[in-house]
């Protein structure tokens, strides 16, 4: 048994039971692991119509066959559940060390079911698994909960936990590990909170057996060389982290500003990766076995910690009109402490700022806090309010769609399928708009990162305003990503590595004979499985769209001036390429072909 341990934990919190179950290896190979395997288990076991915050929803933390091996960046895991934010399938990825440690403990995944009556945490140490009382850490912020638990669990354990936001079931709550790594998106932390599960600590001492040790060494050597020699993974990300994108996207006039009211931020330089490196960077903060080390560790005043990422800088910066890097670092810190997704939190504050700007928040209790675009104080203080569900923060904690809807203006929420859009204006980057609209977990950039060809020119440069070829590129990026998300590696390796490289790693580890096409096919299978779940959950293809502002209001100024996103001209070709029929529903033939 290679790459997989062939066993997983089923933890039922209603009954307080833990079972070790056998993993069917053929099933594992077909669905790879991580996002694919987790989704397969979820779809087979859970009613798509389930209330996401009820005990009947399940939470699966699942590794890939490459997690815990010597493959570069092999530390990732996925949290798979039904999202309370979007109502779609959710799978949120996280790095750090927790995923690898779960593998060392001898498990491919854990499935959490039911709901505990009282707050609990799960302690895993190889074969020993215990459900323990967590009342003493309930209410604690991420760092305090992590450090408190570390005193009572085996040395060298890794801690995955929720913060107050998850406990209070904020629909933007993240699952945190190692204090600053997050399975951030889609409200997976709220599902954990709804189960009264505060944390899962894990310590393991086993190795992951691989099929071909010598062969794997060779493949890894090749991959590491590619990573080192590639400009993005060898120079750009190591030197500046993801924050270097601030200036690039802003120069292109596709840096959404003031809740997407404009697309270029005049003082972007003040919140750039270059400035962060000069003034705030303490050190790099890499994940398990990562030669890229994009992670940052920053300090301002008495606050220090992991991050911020580009997306975070944009959400609290440009999107809120704030050019104070110190305040952004503090807001990021409070997101980590509260256990909040930084993209959704920052952009929900931006949406609230627009409500205020339009005079719609009259009479709401703002507790004396500012909520104007450009207010550094607002981004820090409202993040805390959201985390604690205090004042207007209580409404904001359910995300920008529900917030704006409550004021009768859902169109001011810059979201797709109720999940907030990230840091690229799709009016200036057409294919990214198609990718947003068709992402299986709603507004999201990492389900098909069209920025790579449309802005960075990788693997080749596409005209960002052109419509032709955007459908096939989006599909390939989505399928490729679904495989990588299932493998246990970090998506950033794909700037340097191609499908045949992942196939070679997979083969050496698992002992299969997959090729590059097989990688894409496995990814496509996963994509379709997610789509079918979403349809059965009641998410209709009419939701494959973008906020009205991005479809109808042309950008007024800057290098992307005059453009809207032309989604309707790309979507039919996309459906056709997917074999989904003009109504966006996967055809029976396609499902049969793929074995969905």
């Amino acid at each position: 048994m290679y790459g997989y341990h062939g066993k997983y934990l089923r933890i039922n919190l209603t009954e307080g039971t833990v079972k070790v179950e056998k993993l069917d290896l053929d099933l594992a190979k077909k669905w790879i692991g991580g996002r694919g395997l987790g989704t397969k288990f979820f779809v087979d076991e859970v009613d798509p119509k389930v209330d996401a915050l009820s005990p009947e929803n399940k939470l699966i933390a699942v590794t890939g066959p490459m997690t815990g091996t010597t493959a570069p960046t092999g530390g990732r895991y996925m949290v798979v559940t039904k999202s309370p934010l979007t109502g779609t399938i959710a799978s949120s990825n996280s790095g750090g060390y927790w995923g690898a440690e779960l593998k060392f403990a001898g498990y491919d995944m854990i499935i959490v079911e039911g709901r505990s009556e009282k707050p609990v945490y799960v302690m895993i140490e190889d074969d020993k698994v215990e459900i323990r009382d967590a009342s003493h850490v309930w209410g604690k912020v991420t760092s305090d909960a992590t450090r408190t638990l570390m005193k009572e669990v085996p040395e060298k354990s890794r801690v995955m936990t929720i913060g107050p936001a998850g406990e209070k079931q904020s629909l933007m709550a993240a699952v945190m590990n190692e204090e600053s790594r997050a399975a951030g998106r889609s409200g997976v932390g709220a599902v954990m909170g709804s189960k009264n599960l505060k944390a899962v600590t894990v310590r393991g001492t086993q190795k992951v057996a691989v099929s071909d040790e010598a062969g794997l060494k060779e493949v890894i050597k090749t991959c590491n060389t590619k990573i080192r020699e590639n400009g993005v993974t060898g120079q750009g990300l190591p030197a500046y982290g993801t924050a270097v994108l601030v200036n690039i996207i802003n120069e292109n006039g596709a840096f959404p500003t003031n809740n997407f009211q404009s697309s270029q931020f005049a003082t972007a330089e003040q919140i750039s990766g270059e400035l962060m490196a000069e003034k705030y960077l303490v050190k790099k903060d890499p994940c398990y076995r990562c030669p890229i080390a994009c992670g940052r560790y920053t300090k301002v005043d008495d606050i220090e910690g992991g991050g911020p990422e580009y997306e975070t800088i944009w959400a609290f910066g440009g999107d809120c009109g704030v050019d104070d890097m110190g305040a952004i670092i503090k807001a990021n810190y409070w997101c980590n402490e509260m256990g909040l997704d930084t993209i959704s939190t920052g952009t929900t504050i931006a949406a609230a700022m627009e409500l205020k700007q339009k005079g719609l928040l009259d009479g709401e209790d703002l507790g004396g806090l500012p909520l104007e675009f450009g207010s550094a104080e607002a981004i820090v203080e409202w993040t805390k309010k959201i985390g604690m569900r205090e004042g207007l923060g209580d409404k904001m904690a359910d995300g920008s769609y529900r917030l704006c809807d409550a004021f009768g203006v859902p169109e001011l929420s810059m979201s797709v399928k109720k999940q907030e859009l990230p840091a690229y204006d799709p009016r200036g980057i057409q294919g990214q708009g198609l990718s947003y609209a068709t992402s299986n977990r709603g507004g999201c950039h990492v389900r098909g990162y069209m920025i790579s060809p449309e802005i960075l020119g990788l693997p080749e440069k596409l005209d960002r305003f052109a419509l032709e070829d955007k459908a096939p590129w989006t599909k390939i990026f989505q399928d490729f990503t679904a495989f990588i998300d299932s493998s246990g590696l970090c998506l950033f390796t794909s700037f340097a590595m191609g499908a045949p490289d992942y196939a070679a790693l997979f083969n050496a580890i698992v002992g299969t004979d997959l090729d590059g096409n097989g990688v894409l096919e496995a990814g496509e299978r996963i994509y379709n499985l997610e789509r079918v779940f979403n349809l059965e959950a009641g998410i209709t293809p009419s939701e494959d769209t973008l906020p009205k502002r991005l479809l109808e209001d042309a950008i007024a100024e800057g290098p992307s001036k005059g453009f809207v996103n032309e989604l309707s001209k790309m979507l039919p070709e996309y459906y056709q390429l997917r074999g989904w029929g003009t109504d966006g529903v996967p055809s029976k033939e396609r499902k049969d072909q793929l074995g969905v």
Binding site: Q235, A239, L245, I248
Partner: protein
Amino acid sequence: MQIKVRLFATLREGRGKELSKDYPEGISPGGVIQDLEIPEEEVAILLVNGRDGRLDQVLEEGDTVSIFPPVGGG
């Protein structure tokens, strides 16, 4: 004619962030890059007035050329 050049990330080292320079008519981004002694392999993204630029296109008075080395994704 005046051309504004904006440099990013490592390209700033020893050159600064933004220069406004006088160039002869007919100058191209390629010429600017040569003048600034930037090795061509370090030019990953080239924009002229925020739009995709070509090394050999003819620049006009007041144009802004933005040059990036290989950078991140996110």
